[in-house]
Amino acid sequence: MPEPPAEAVDEVAPDLARMRRERHARLVDGMADAGIEALVLLGQSNVGYATGARVPAADQARAIHRRSVALVTGDGAQPHLWTWFPEGAPTDLPRDHVHHGLALDLDADAGALLDVVDGVVTGDASLAVDELTMPLRAELRARARPYTDGGPAIGAAKACKTADELVCIRRAQAINEEAIAALAPTVTEGTRGTELTGAFLRHAFELGASANNVDPIWQVMPASIADGPTSVTGDLVFPTVTTDRPFERGDVIWVDNGLAYEGYMSDYGHTWVVDAEPDAGLREQCRRWREVVDATLDETRPGATARDLTAAAMEAAGGTRPWLPHLYLAHGTGTESAEPPFVGTDLGDAFDESVVLETGMVLVLEPVAWDDGHRGFRAEQIVTVTDDGWRSLSQLTWDGWE
């Protein structure tokens, strides 16, 4: 199936207010299905999904202490939001639902949160949480307040994207691709990975990225796994932390980075060769990678299972599993850089058979074509499942590879 072109960055714009309304409705539906009347959210991607609240991207060591917190109720009323950054609260959230930020690692604030929860829903309302700080856990136990796991309700809501969510993902990806296009020609012998990171972030923010969520990866690949770095499992190690070691002519670099637009994650992956054209071996690996992706996409449609996709990928790869064993053939993306559906994880074939594709799901395909001793090729393609198959949300370029 030929790849239809993805939209350019400015072709479409999301309706953010509509996106928030539709996400909230999906979350309330997911809560009803799970029998949850009150859902307390601490995870930042979950709070963002439920409320639309923005917080500055921050190292985890800061983000956990300056997190926003949300309370979503099953009656469909507007959520409550506690935030250190009220400027990031959507204007359509009632002002009396926006509260001062909480330090949930301190006992007093854990109690203050539950005081509001107890004022909004009755004491016997079924309560779920996505995660807990230990003071919040202690306060729940002190009040004899049982709680369940909110994860499944959130997962059900997030699984299929609305049209506006897909626009945000495409826009994040288009910004990423444009930043990469500006950067790639500058890579040469002597360039340092950290320099690339700086230039990438500069381009990305100038182009309107809302945040960067992972230290960009520019990993110089060894010829073989035994060349290191040391692997606990004997499998290829990827990704590793970017260093300031200068690149050398002929280095094969696996690029992987993600930045966000309005809370939605892009995921760019490709293979670069420093100061040289890809040799015949790499081009052959690239061709095999594309065969695996094409075979996988041929099976991508509503009703197909993740197992159908792994089977197609393995058949195209001659019976081997053409992806990193500690990762996956494909993962979803949305408000998390890797979220369900997961395809080809170590959860196994039975799990993959239970994952059924639906319209609006997003898949980031990231197989690898590796020949130990001769390096390999890796890239990433993002698609969304449509009623009759799939549509691309990424636009990889193939200069020098064909």
């Binding site: 190292d59 985890q60 800061r62 807990l132 990305a204 992972v214």
Partner: protein
């Protein structure tokens, strides 16, 4: 203080509290006990056992597929690989020497799923708050930690100096953030502590947080809050730049710093309009009832007649010492 010495201090405190094992999900806590600086990711992550420290052995075990970039004293035999099946991770955790038979486990967060699985795997173990234990240990800094924080602060200040050199009319707020992020990476391996504020000040309005595509004009004041992570430590910088003029400093900053004396109550300082937050291996929480101790490092911030300004300060018995310019 080496990581090994720091870890020994943690183990002493665990023994005092009767804690058999620490199971840590927060990266800053993992950095503190292991010295490892793993892949930088933004935002919160749900709890998962990323770092395990049994008191009986005093040896740290990390969730990682490779020892690449890890301190040499953490051998490959002290790593356990990532798995999408949480039971595999629990099994690896239970197999670590010193974990079986634990009755008190310190954790720095929890999810309903891991709460259930930990209970099933280690049914005799109760969970206690390891964040509180490590917060108390982490907040008093050793000299080498103060040096590391000072280096991170200088990296942030250098990046801001270079950014300020490119400030001129027509530059957008997002361009300033973009330039800072670029300059930040020139200091070895640097990631942001948070994505910074570079916002045109408006008279009478509180400082904004999020940059926009608003273009700066001559005479505009620009509020800056920014920070970098260097070797796992946070370096913060808070300033007010002026387009077509020299940066302005808040006259009240010196007095605010001087009031950050050992024994001062955090809530009293905040009531007086002085922002005070702990800083070190990232943000370190200080409650209003907290009292400043010798050896703490704090970020002090004031908004003085529209000028936003700040300093990073080491608290000493003989008085506060600025680590920033």
């Amino acid at each position: 203080m080496t990581t090994a010495a720091r870890r020994a201090r943690v183990v002493d405190r665990m023994n005092d509290a009767g804690i058999d094992v620490l199971v840590l999900g927060r990266e800053a806590n993992a950095r503190y006990v292991s010295g490892a600086d793993r892949l930088w990711l933004a935002g919160t992550r749900p709890f998962a056992p990323g770092c395990v420290l049994p008191a009986a052995t005093g040896e740290v075990h990390l969730l990682s597929i490779t020892d690449d970039g890890l301190p040499p004293d953490i051998g490959a035999d002290h790593l356990f690989p990532i798995s999408w099946n949480p039971m595999n991770i629990l099994d690896a955790l239970a197999a670590i020497r010193g974990v079986a038979g634990a009755t008190l486990i310190g954790v720095d967060g929890m999810t309903p799923l891991f709460e259930q699985l930990l209970g099933a795997t280690l049914p005799d173990a109760a969970l206690v708050d390891a964040e509180a234990l490590l917060r108390e240990l982490r907040r008093v800094k050793e000299p080498d930690e103060v040096d590391a924080i000072g280096a991170a602060v200088r990296a942030a200040e250098d990046a801001l100096t270079q950014t300020a050199g490119e400030l001129r009319a027509g530059v957008r707020e997002i361009d300033l953030k973009a330039r800072f992020e670029e300059h930040m990476t020139r200091t070895r391996l640097t990631a942001p502590a948070f994505e910074g504020t570079f916002c045109v000040a408006e008279a009478g309005a509180p400082p904004r947080t999020f940059v926009t595509d608003r273009a700066v004009r001559d005479g505009d004041r620009i509020h800056v809050r920014a920070g970098v992570m260097l070797d796992g430590f946070e370096g913060l910088v808070t300033r007010t730049l002026v387009c077509d003029g020299d940066p302005v400093r808040a006259p009240g900053l010196d007095d605010a710093v001087a009031r950050c004396r050992v024994g001062a109550r955090v809530g009293d300082l905040r009531s007086a309009g002085i922002g005070v937050e702990g800083t070190g291996l990232g943000h370190e929480e200080l409650g209003a009832d907290g009292v400043l101790l010798a050896g703490m490092t704090v970020a002090v911030e004031v908004l003085d007649d529209g000028v936003l300004d700040g300093a990073v300060v080491l608290l000493r018995a003989e008085g506060p010492q600025r680590l920033s310019t």
